[in-house]
């Protein structure tokens, strides 16, 4: 099962991805967390810690620097470069930009190619996409099972969410669940619903404990597992799992 997490920068994609991944792993599924951001921070939210997160190497960079041969399947690469973390989630970074002249683009290590090649993967892949719509646009018509669109009740965030939802629908890229994030009141939720009508919406309350976890660089699931915002994200994970897995 493949789950893509998309949205505007800063909307909460990475925090959401991390809680989803660990929720899936806790339910007994083999879980791969795929950090598709070229500025990868998913390790922090998963609970790997600052130092370990900064040291993680992107699959793409390992290939470019010649540390690894250009052979092997995508899945083999992930196996080789993935790092195990809390709850047994395996984390892999697709590509971290560390040089203003990135190496050969024909290597083919890109989030959209990796995802498309992962049909034989068992368990769940949670792909934390880069901010904006670039990766969705480049996915072409290769679907995933679920697209979680993380949207804050702000005009900018909803604008990105609306465009993401249109693209996913137009191309049939998967079942959409909107994570309405940092919801303060009924007005906030109504704002999200009015821009994204007819979509499944999970409401995630504005949660000071998540803000604190971000300030401290720790996983919200470790620092505040019982906070309402964290619980809502866990429930979102259960909702994602309840979707039919496409054949």
């Amino acid at each position: 099962m493949k789950v893509a997490v998309v949205g505007k920068g800063g909307s909460g994609k990475t925090t959401t991805s991390a809680v989803l991944a660990r929720t899936f792993a806790r339910s007994g599924l083999a879980t791969l967390a795929l950090d598709c951001d070229t500025n990868p921070n998913l390790g922090l939210s998963l609970g790997y810690g600052e130092e370990a997160t900064e040291k993680l190497v992107g699959v793409r960079q390992a290939l470019d620097t010649g540390e690894e041969g250009h052979a092997g399947s995508m899945i083999e690469l992930i196996d080789r470069f993935g790092v195990d973390g809390p709850d047994g989630v395996r984390l892999a970074i697709v590509s971290a930009i560390e040089n203003p002249e990135p190496g050969c683009p024909c290597c083919g290590v890109s989030p959209e190619r990796l995802l498309a090649d992962m049909d034989s993967v068992e368990g769940v892949v949670v792909a934390d996409f880069e901010a904006g719509l670039g990766t969705i646009i480049r996915m072409g018509d290769d679907p995933v099972d679920v697209v979680v669109i993380v949207a804050e009740p702000t005009a900018k965030s909803l604008e990105v969410a609306r465009r993401a939802a249109d693209l996913v629908k137009e191309r049939g890229l998967g079942r959409v669940i909107v994570a309405a994030n940092r919801v303060r009141d009924a007005d906030d939720l109504a704002r999200v619903r009015s821009v994204l009508p007819d979509l499944e919406v999970s409401s995630i309350p504005d949660e000071p404990a998540i803000t604190r976890a971000e300030r401290n660089g720790v996983a919200p699931l470790d620092s505040a597992p019982d906070a309402a915002g964290v619980r809502a994200l866990v429930e979102l994970g259960e909702r994602v799992l309840s979707s039919p897995i496409s054949a």
């Binding site: 505007k8 500025n39 921070n41 904006g132 646009i137 900018k156 604008e159 704002r191 971000e214």
Partner: protein, 252 residues
């Protein structure tokens, strides 16, 4: 002045860039604000009506440069003319040029993107200030998109993820021909936060924009900070940043 704002998603780039552009214009500068993110964000922060207007296909022609097929502005059309013709006019007279809507699987709008770069680089230095809002993360700032900037401001929150993004950008900026890189501490809540940003990124911190609920309230309405809450502490801090950068650019 030629300044670009970069940083992690959600750090406050657009809010700061939009307010900065208008405050600079109020001091009598002719300001071109550019949004090179295919997702419109700066328009909201400037208070410009939502539009996807980029540089239209009629203004672009194919050409061959160094043996490669590429695009440029139609011959006879200068960068300055293109700005005057295709930029939206916003509050305080700020002109807004956007990259244009993302469309197609691959490269279908490569033409307008390349033309956008030509325009930004071709706007004459004399008589124009440019304030750029670059997309989140490390993908764009140093790959041609930030070339117009003399100063690149990394907007950094005092959180480990934002600091890590700042460090990565600082490393990229260590490369030859990179512009001057400085940091602004964003959404600060205490006195130690600016030091946290300085120590965490290794960059000089030239300004501090405090955490201010009027920013998130305005974001909910899609209203520009300057229109919604002109007396907000964040506005005063950004105005101070304008002074700082004007002074710095005047130094030889």
């Amino acid at each position: 002045m030629r300044v670009a704002f970069v940083g992690k998603g959600g750090a406050g780039k657009s809010s700061i860039a939009g307010t900065f552009a208008r405050l600079l214009a109020r001091r009598g500068e002719r300001v071109l604000a550019i949004d090179s993110d295919p997702m419109p964000g700066l328009a909201f922060s400037l208070g410009v009506d939502r539009s996807d207007a980029g540089i239209p296909d009629v203004a672009i022609e194919e050409c061959v440069i160094d043996g490669r097929n590429t695009f440029r502005l139609r011959s006879g059309l200068s960068a300055e003319e293109a700005v005057l013709r295709y930029a939206d006019v916003g509050p305080d007279g700020v002109l807004l040029l956007q990259l244009g809507k993302a469309r197609g699987v691959r490269g279908e709008n490569a033409g307008s993107h390349q033309a956008f770069q030509h325009v930004v680089e071709g706007v004459p230095d004399h008589g124009w200030s440019i304030v750029g809002d670059l997309p989140a993360g490390t993908r764009q700032p140093f790959f041609g998109w930030g070339r117009f900037a003399r100063t690149v401001v990394v907007v950094v929150e005092p959180t480990p993820a934002s600091l890590l993004s700042g460090r990565r950008l600082a490393r990229l900026a260590g490369m030859p021909s990179a512009p001057r890189l400085v940091a602004v501490a964003s959404k600060t809540r205490g006195l130690g936060d600016a030091e946290l940003v300085r120590d965490g990124t290794g960059l000089p911190v030239i300004g501090t924009v405090p955490f201010d609920t009027s920013v998130s309230d305005g974001d909910r309405e899609g209203a520009a900070l300057l229109d919604q809450t002109p007396k907000a502490p964040a506005v005063a801090a950004i105005d101070e940043l304008v002074s700082t950068l004007i002074n710095e650019e005047e130094q030889p």
